[in-house]
Symmetry: C2
Subunit: 436 residues, 2 copies
């Protein structure tokens, strides 16, 4: 986080019920007592508040500020759950799309403070009105919800007059060796990443935004994730992936704003001319990585550790002692071979072996039922934020795809890239500079 983020709402309460001030009687009678009317009124009513820290809020229930120079949900300390959805725009009417982005902004901002998606909420406009919020998160706290939007390369075709505004870095990802991509799990005109510490809150956010988009967008694919595998703050411990290893120890951290500026945020010089709307944004790379856990679980400890390059129990680089010891790639073992093998994952992915490349990882574990042949369909829903995918993710993934011994146990079956615009200023909406 490079600067203070204004807080959109007075933190007078974090529960949808509390914020709306709906008494039992009023609600039962179908009377809504919302805290704001239309978009302009709501935005105007939001006072510029104290600077909020980039690090974890006091409680997992507390709200995360929605507005600021950058979108929330990128360097925000990773919440425990994600519901990610990719959508296709089903209209060619640019005005409808812009209107949706305004309505989405309004709804997302409300939901991130623990309010319902729209004034009127679950009780709608009286008994014969359709409820303006689907209701399953009613009464739940804000739960650290962040909602992050992105625009896919396909949005910049000739449908909406955006082709001249496409940033040079927003190109379809190249094919990587070993890719086994399912079109039904790849691509999309738009994405929404909803992260929260309660899955019901994340699902509620996506569902209500999808609902608002009826007739304008259609769900292309979605993914639920749990057990964040990447800490994005020094205040968090490193979680484990489904191979049982600590993952992302060397991840970029919110507390190092210089590194975040260098590797995550798009700088003005990166996007000259018509692409300037993307300044302050970031590119989101999503990869659904199926893990063949049944095979992995039959390999011995040494093989597993050699594959990753860290010890399983502690997460220390091989030959070293502690998780946060800087990996020593020159270190030799008793057999005079490198302690961290030449094809180990952390060696190939380390910035010192990639010309200084770093990425902000923000992935989640998933388990999606079974694969139909007796195995769990489980893995890592990889999400990374980068300043330039062509200079960061692409060369990194090319190196990993070519040599990483981990490839024996994984399979990339979904892929997408999105340009996440900068944060929303007071009075603005998601992507306003793009559509201005």
């Amino acid at each position: 986080m490079t600067g203070p983020i204004p807080q959109p709402q007075p933190a007078s309460g974090v529960s949808r019920r509390g914020l709306l001030g709906v008494s039992a009687g009023a609600a039962a009678a179908g009377v809504a007592v919302g805290f704001g009317g239309g978009y302009a009124a709501h935005a105007a009513a939001a006072p510029a508040a104290e600077a909020a820290p980039a690090t974890a809020p006091a409680s997992l229930d507390a709200p995360i500020p929605f507005r600021g120079p950058h979108q929330a949900g990128i360097v925000t300390p990773a919440q425990d759950r994600v519901h990610f959805v990719a959508l296709d725009v089903v209209t060619k009417d640019r005005a409808l799309l812009v209107d949706l982005l305004k309505r989405w902004t309004r709804a997302a901002e409300r939901m991130t403070v623990g309010a319902e998606a729209a004034p009127g909420g679950v009780v709608g406009g009286g008994p014969y009105g359709v409820p303006q919020d689907t209701g399953e998160a009613y009464g739940l706290p804000a739960s650290g919800l962040t909602v992050t939007i992105g625009f896919g390369p396909s949005l910049f075709d000739d449908r909406f007059g955006l082709s001249a505004r496409r940033p040079a870095a927003l190109q379809d990802l190249p094919a990587f060796r070993g890719d086994d991509l399912d079109p039904a799990r790849s691509g999309g005109d738009l994405c929404i990443q909803a992260c929260a510490n309660d899955p019901q809150v994340a699902v509620h956010a996506v569902r209500n935004l999808v609902r608002l988009g009826f007739g304008v967008v259609s769900v292309r694919w979605s993914q639920l994730g749990f057990g964040r595998t990447s800490s994005t703050s020094t205040t968090q411990t490193t979680a484990r992936n489904l191979f049982g290893f600590k993952d992302g120890t060397n991840n970029l951290k919110a507390e190092d704003p210089a590194a975040i500026d260098e590797h995550v945020w798009v700088a003005p010089a990166d996007v000259p001319g018509a692409a300037a709307w993307m300044s302050g944004g970031s590119y989101l790379v999503a990869r659904r990585i199926r893990m063949h856990i049944e095979v992995w679980d039959r390999t011995n400890l040494q093989d597993q550790q050699d594959t990753i390059g860290r010890t399983k129990a502690v997460g220390a680089p091989l030959g070293q002692e502690k998780e946060f010891d800087e990996p020593d790639f020159a270190l030799k073992g008793a057999d005079n071979q490198p302690a961290i093998p030449v094809d180990a994952h952390i060696r190939l992915a380390h910035s010192s072996n990639l010309g200084g490349i770093k990425i902000l990882r923000r992935g989640y574990n998933f388990t999606d039922g079974t694969d139909g042949v007796g195995h769990l369909d489980a893995g890592l829903f990889f999400i990374a934020f980068v300043r330039d995918p062509g200079k960061q993710f692409v060369p990194m993934q090319q190196a990993l795809a070519a040599k990483d011994v981990l490839n024996e146990y994984i399979e990339h079956n979904g892929s997408a890239l999105f340009a996440c615009p900068p944060g929303v200023a007071e009075g603005g909406y998601w992507g306003d500079a793009l559509f201005a």
Copy 2:
């Protein structure tokens, strides 16, 4: 819960790391310091401890006792997440199946106290041993994990000599009007229900048990759920389902042991002769109920409330004020029509309209990606525990399938029934009385 449940482990700690006493150095060197060896040793080492209350533990992280007269995970206050798996037995060797049940019991008991699935844990038997635990929950607390096992009707065919021991009540469920069952989401020789307050802990438990079953069982289907929709204890608030309504207000509660005895636990007289092994057990009905949330979300508040029979905001029976008001089905509205419509869900499902039938609901919400045509594949993973499915679930579901106006918005696409044996006594294993 009808009586005290002995606590299997001294509550000296709840973290896998703490329980195993693995120091960073020892773990890095591949040295395991487990807290118990083989099955017998472990069981013998477990002291009979103080009576544990049936209500919620002090912390969501704390362990739930594994052994007792009934299996945990039935009247245990519903945890926030479930990973449910149905399995088929792929061997015809009864001894292998019995051996697996013993190994499963040992592993499940360890995991419920926050330990790894087996002694040796993530560091295995030295560097060239295969880790005995997959590791993704290493360092996480017990998280209220319960693991509950069930036996499907198909287990009682001629493969294992069990056909004479099949309880009369364990019959395949009949077809219900409107069923659209997918065989790939239905049935199974065995089931494992793992509930926890952290999904990573529930997934870890299922995965490690599946792994232990390699060569003996194969995954048939699995389902991840979140946001428990049924409270099973008066200490819990009523959660909301994905229609945004409070669900299961009138559920049976652990604090009413007489009702639990009457409606949930199989009594000795229910299972005479060769089926006596099931005394103290319960039948688990699983139904995957897809909810057509997009359609629901376009209906007005009055329609939604008339469909359920409760107000959306508060959850009060229509015409009444508070959630826990006893529904008054005779009450008329201003139009002289019943306040709770004649085809409302709560009217049809209420015990007073079903000859006194009650069931213990323990379901979860789910969101499984998309349905391929632009909608979220979301709904309710219904789980109920009953003393006799033919006398409770079947007539209830027949009544609902015939008349419930809710059917317009839902679709049952998965179904299974399992006989959950009674709890495991000291020195015993899951299903020991069945295989004795």
